[in-house]
Symmetry: C2
């Protein structure tokens, strides 16, 4: 069995080709929009959400070709949220993954339509490929991604984030925001990966979801720590941006040491949620390690 690094690289490389194939081809009209969609999705990021979907897919012996589609749908939602988030009326960021953001490279109107179109494409993928022999279970996958993306999920988290600028948030409020803003989609990635294979019982789904909740929060805490410590070149995006914008983070709220301790505790809780799954959950455990330990 390949070690984690080899497993992750193999999936990342194959998945890049999957995205290249699923996105509208560059010559297709309207060309500028399709180019900008590809620019915003391809060659970027660690693909953490897709990797979580692949790891959850392995837990249920799902066909990789099916998990590819579910993972792509989640990644397109993530990519659309970054494009819209970077726009001047939101975070007004000019750099993302070491490249100019979409509205800088193209223009604001195009960035708006890129985000809108990536969202539509995510749902199109979930509906047009066979992801489960049971069409009713596949409909449930559409519902899961839609509610994780919407006003009670990711977009709602962004609204809470916007409303929090310049405010003194308590820890539970910060947690509530992140559970929506980043947590909802991370949980969806895991559950969608698992929905491509053999059905889990309700208790197993709940434990997997709790794993996702812990990993999602840990991911954010680690991001805040890295953001407070790294410089822009290492990060590939503007560093220290949240603190500059007077946005509450786990570091500004708890201090670096307590934030690191919190990440370690979430890591432990995540692994505990997987304890009954045996060796099938190996990659999920390794991903939890990777997310928490990537830099400290």
């Amino acid at each position: 069995m390949p070690d984690f690094q080899a497993w992750a690289s193999a999936h990342q490389q194959r998945f890049e080709d999957v995205l290249r194939r699923l996105l509208p081809q560059p010559g297709l009209a309207p060309q500028r929009l399709h180019e900008a969609m590809r620019y915003s999705v391809l060659d970027g990021g660690k693909r953490v959400r897709p990797l979580l979907a692949f790891a959850a897919g392995e837990l249920v012996q799902a066909e990789v070709a099916r998990v590819d589609i579910a993972a792509a749908a989640v990644e397109l939602i993530h990519a659309y949220s970054l494009v819209h988030d970077d726009m001047p009326c939101m975070d007004n960021d000019v750099l993302r993954r070491g490249k100019p953001t979409c509205h800088v490279q193209y223009d604001e109107a195009t960035a708006l339509l890129v985000g809108d179109s990536l969202q539509s494409l995510a749902f199109q993928l979930l509906a047009e490929h066979k992801l489960n022999d049971d069409a009713a279970r596949q409909l449930a996958m559409v519902k899961l991604l839609a509610s994780a993306s919407g006003s009670r999920g990711m977009a709602g988290g962004q609204a809470i984030d916007l409303a929090s600028v310049g405010k003194q948030l308590a820890l539970p409020e910060l947690e509530f925001m992140h559970i929506h803003k980043t947590g909802a989609l991370i949980r969806a990635a895991i559950l969608l990966g698992a929905q491509c294979g053999a059905a889990l019982d309700e208790g197993q789904v709940n434990r997997l979801d709790h794993f996702g909740k812990c990993v999602g929060l840990a991911f954010q805490v680690v991001d805040d720590v890295l953001d407070s410590e790294a410089d822009t070149a290492t990060l590939g995006k503007t560093a220290g941006k949240d603190a500059q914008q007077d946005k509450p983070t786990y570091v500004t709220l708890l201090g670096v040491q307590a934030a690191k301790k919190m990440a370690r505790e979430l890591h432990r809780a995540a692994l505990e949620a997987l304890s009954e799954f045996g060796d099938g959950a190996r990659r999920l455990r390794e991903l939890a390690d990777f997310i928490v330990l990537r830099k400290f």
Copy 2:
């Protein structure tokens, strides 16, 4: 059988309650986002797309409660596109349906998230309510709405529209733009309404789709004529905006008389596409009349 006006009013009134019920309730967190979503959808418009869905639903004896959901999904996509379209980086419009546009009433970031969340909600509705006894047919409905909304449908049409500002378009290019920008969603409304009931054969679906294509174009031509003739108070949105922004319209391209003639020809072609359907298509015919004859 009620006359068209009574039929349309009854549906419009009931449908307003349906939307009120399906949208996130105003007290629910994040409150400002949910209020803005309701502000952008409720109390507005003639609900032409939903009426087309109801009329198509009658053709196949679909349960009205199912068509309500399909119609709501289409209307939420339409509403999201208006919210994003009105933003400063797109059409920069301050008035819509006689009210301040969403980004004026709230702010740009909220308007961005309102549009994003309305799109997610549309797909959530299509997935979480039972619209067809056959789940595979319902998945096909999700695919239909997603592709009608995305870069090869509505959003793609908006991209072509943006690229056309200040350009001399030929009639086929203008038609290509509108077939995407407004036509795709109108056709989706009709086909989704029809998908809620007894299955049509392929030829029937194609004729229904051709009806939708003709009606969709006629709708746009009539809009251009009205926009060139009406004043802002009558229209409930800024009049003459397209011409001011140097955007090509059927009126600037053909002149008012030829544009009216074109609308009448499309009207005739739309009715012809329904000729084999008999009395079940009565409301579709009346809607075609309504769309073309509403003002001239």
